[in-house]
């Protein structure tokens, strides 16, 4: 059983559309991170959220941490072809000793 459930697993949309990716758990995290990964490369951090209810914006990307720090969402407005990639959420448990638990990932394809 995956500690962090990420949905959807695959998403194919047209350029200009909006989308939301969800990351859910029954566990409480001290922080939650979102990474983006390109083919043949390692993941790269997009954002870290640490406070329940926190909202962070990165250009057209909006990240939200749930009030209870068990879930998070990533919303992309007016998607572009350059947003194509694998999006991964990762949570750090309070007693994990700097270990991250990753979701399964969402493969996003933005078509022109």
């Amino acid at each position: 059983t995956q500690l962090l459930e990420q949905s959807p697993q695959f998403l194919s949309i047209q350029e200009g559309e909006n989308l939301t990716v969800y990351c859910n758990s029954s566990s409480v995290f001290s922080s939650l991170q979102w990474y983006r990964q390109e083919p043949g490369e390692g993941p790269v951090l997009l954002v870290t959220v640490v406070t329940g209810g926190e909202v962070k914006k990165l250009k057209r990307l909006t990240f939200q941490f749930g009030d209870a720090r068990k879930d998070s969402s990533l919303h992309i407005t007016a998607a572009q072809t350059g947003d194509t990639g694998l999006y991964l959420c990762a949570g750090e448990l309070g007693t994990s000793g700097s270990r991250l638990t990753f979701g399964e990932g969402t493969q996003l394809t933005v078509n022109p």
């Binding site: 043949g40 490369e41 390692g42 993941p43 951090l45 870290t48 700097s98 270990r99 979701g103 399964e104």
Partner: protein
């Protein structure tokens, strides 16, 4: 560029042979990690290290061992490779509040 390199980048080996993957960092970070990435599973932690000669198991450690004799190097060894260990392996280091990942090693066990 977080100064992480992995070697080799690609390897094909046969079942039953030993394999060692190397991760090298130039940032002098204390924490280093080995993950494997498989379709539908995201990244799963194999082993991690919190200092020279200090290591601990992750969630999928069976069949793997690690060693860290110097701050900059973290080695992952498959003592006797199996086909189920065919995967992409990523090394990572911990910065202030994020992990920086290496470019990955694609391992195929025939």
């Amino acid at each position: 560029d977080a100064g992480i390199t992995q070697s080799p980048r690609h390897k094909v080996t046969e079942t039953g042979t030993p394999v060692t993957l190397r991760c090298h960092q130039t940032e002098n970070h204390r924490y280093m990690y080995w993950y494997r990435q498989d379709p539908g599973h995201g990244l799963r932690l194999i082993h991690y290290s919190y200092g020279v000669k200090d290591t601990d198991k992750g969630e999928v450690s069976d069949g793997y061992s690690v060693s860290r004799s110097k701050t900059e190097d973290f080695l992952l060894t498959l003592e006797s490779a199996t086909s189920s260990q065919t995967s992409v392996y990523f090394c990572a280091i911990r910065g202030f509040d994020e992990q920086f990942f290496g470019p990955g090693t694609r391992l195929t066990v025939l």
